[in-house]
């Protein structure tokens, strides 16, 4: 009972970050609409690449759309988690948020909750726009498998994001830059818009350590070929294992980085 009350309390505290970030979206709604329109247009332009002049090539379109939608979701997730510290620093609120009597797990839980909700909302809007325009046939897709892939890949991306979030704690400006480079590297090697087999050998080796590679492979199998959970079990196990390892590791690294920032005086607005 005490544990339930404690978890409830921590969830309420986590919600502080969700509410705060959605309030900020409301405040800058005009920009949010602009970004949304840009994302929809960007996804459409990628999807049109797959379409032949005679109107065939629906499979290619779906292949690209799955890549664009998944990358859209995962990159928002990664970006929101990885940039959480840097964002607080820019706003000047980092000291207030970090001196609140709140477990860091609760704080980061709130960041991840918002990132997942925000990413999901954006992805659903883009998906409806793209499916409507291309009249995509999803009758053979296994949506349950697709959803499970999305959930498990969220765990591993949260883990990677947590580790990337520590970078701005250690170096105010360079840390954020490094997080963007990491994101770009994942985009390059994971086969978002092409099969990883087209990559040079050394990049193919790198693709093996990117959780996005397994996410995209499993999601395409589920949505394009209707693969069952059993069919994609090896990818699901890899994603689960990556999440189970990376989230606690990310929290541990974050705590260490916070102590480093507290020792060196970097836990402050100007860095």
């Amino acid at each position: 009972m005490v544990l339930v009350l404690e978890i409830n309390k921590e969830l309420r505290r986590s919600y502080a970050l969700v509410e705060r970030n959605f309030n900020l979206i409301k405040r800058y709604l005009g920009w949010e609409v602009v970004f949304m329109v840009y994302t929809v247009v960007n996804t459409l332009t990628i999807a049109f690449i797959g379409l032949s002049p005679d109107g065939s090539g629906q499979d290619k379109v779906l292949y690209l759309v799955v890549g664009a939608l998944l990358w859209g979701f995962l990159s928002v997730l990664f970006h929101e988690v990885a940039e959480s510290v840097q964002w607080e620093r820019w706003e000047g609120t980092i000291e207030y948020s970090f001196m609140a009597p709140m477990r860091r797990l609760t704080y980061l839980g709130g960041v991840c909750l918002f990132a997942a909700a925000y990413g999901a909302i954006r992805t659903v809007i883009v998906m409806f726009a793209v499916v409507g325009i291309f009249n995509l046939d999803l009758s053979s897709a296994n949506l349950l498998s697709g959803l499970i892939v999305l959930l498990l890949s969220s765990l591993s991306f949260i883990g990677v994001g947590l580790m990337a979030a520590t970078l701005p704690l250690m170096s105010a400006e360079k840390g954020s830059q490094a997080a963007h480079i990491l994101e770009a590297a994942i985009l390059l090697v994971s086969g978002v818009y092409y099969d990883v087999s087209v990559l040079p050998a050394w990049m193919q080796n790198l693709s093996l350590i990117s959780p996005a590679t397994y996410t995209l492979r499993a999601a395409r199998a589920a949505l394009l070929r209707g693969a069952s959970l059993h069919d994609i079990r090896s990818e699901l196990l890899i994603l689960l294992a990556t999440g189970v390892i990376l989230i606690p590791l990310g929290l541990l690294v974050f705590n260490r980085a916070e102590l480093y920032a507290m020792r060196t005086g970097k836990l402050k607005r100007s860095g």
């Binding site: 309390k9 309420r12 505290r13 919600y15 502080a16 509410e19 705060r20 309030n23 900020l24 405040r27 800058y28 706003e91 000047g92 609120t93 000291e95 207030y96 948020s97 970090f98 001196m99 609140a100 009597p101 709140m102 477990r103 102590l259 507290m262 020792r263 060196t264 005086g265 836990l267 402050k268 607005r269």
Partner: protein, 284 residues
């Protein structure tokens, strides 16, 4: 009863990059032999205590170590040496407990400036898990006492004046009912009316709730008006610590009427301008 704040031999050192000036090849080569970083004693083995309900002032120019000391007490910095406790809780080993007892107002009203005052206060209330009905009543009471108009509370903070933002920062800190309130130059840059309103509020809060206050400032009148005791800090060290009257009598044994400004000059050899910079420019 234990002290509200005890600081024993607290020390904090930072390593800052040396400035390297352009010069001849020889001087640049020579510069490479000197270590890239130099050590700065931001807080140099400070020992003091603050009693519950006391308003303790720390007076010093910019760069003297005031804010570093506040950040050490706020659990945002780890001391290199020494020990700091807040109501008996160690700021390093019992950070979580200390954080429940303190809050802070800093020189810059650090908010999500795109959000309104109420949205920012709601964020604080959720972080501290305050009861929804109770925090709204408390906030309304504090904001009214600070003289803030309710119609401004739903406007983005970036549209409000600096004085109003700072008052909301005070309201945010007091919303959590801290036992120890850390005020880090809370009235710097405020107009005289807003400055007096914030000072009045601090005195009222202490009278009503017995809140202990640590106030850093370079405003001599403010220190004289608010503080029970004042420590003068320079280069991370306290050069004097006494009641305002005691400090004055230290430099005027004959009982002549002196101001804190004169006390400060006599003890540090520096005069402060309005922005906290010593007139001789001797700031680290």
């Amino acid at each position: 009863m234990s002290s509200a704040l005890e600081c024993h031999n607290a020390r904090k050192v930072f390593y800052v990059k040396r400035e390297r000036k352009n010069g001849s090849i020889l001087s640049r080569l020579f510069a490479r032999l000197i270590p890239k970083y130099k050590m700065v004693e931001a807080v140099d083995r400070l020992t003091f205590h603050v009693e519950p309900g006391e308003i303790f002032g720390i007076l010093g120019p910019n760069g003297s170590g005031k804010s570093t000391l506040i950040r050490l007490i706020s659990t945002l910095l780890l001391p290199d040496e020494g020990c700091i406790t807040v109501f008996g809780h160690d700021v390093v080993k019992e950070r979580f407990q200390v954080r429940k007892l303190i809050n802070r107002v800093s020189v810059d009203a650090a908010f999500f400036k795109g959000l309104s005052a109420m949205e920012n206060l709601s964020y604080t209330a959720r972080l501290y898990d305050l009861d929804k009905g109770a925090w709204q009543d408390t906030a309304a009471d504090i904001l009214e006492r600070l003289g803030l108009k309710t119609d401004k509370l739903h406007e983005p903070l970036e549209d409000l004046s600096r004085g109003m933002q700072q008052k909301i920062a005070v309201a945010r800190a007091l919303l959590t009912r801290p036992l120890l309130l850390l005020l880090d130059e809370p009235t710097t840059g405020l107009d005289p009316v807003s400055k007096k309103e914030v000072q009045d509020f601090v005195l009222e809060e202490r009278a009503l709730r017995g809140t202990t206050v640590v106030l850093t400032t370079h405003d001599m009148q403010e220190a004289d008006r608010l503080c029970d005791r004042i420590a003068i800090i320079d280069y991370g060290r306290f050069v004097a610590m006494d009641t305002p009257g005691g400090l004055k009598s230290q430099v005027s044994p004959n009982g002549e009427d002196v101001t804190l400004e004169e006390v400060f000059f006599a003890l540090t050899g520096k005069r402060l301008k309005d922005n906290g910079k010593p007139e001789n420019g001797d700031v680290r």
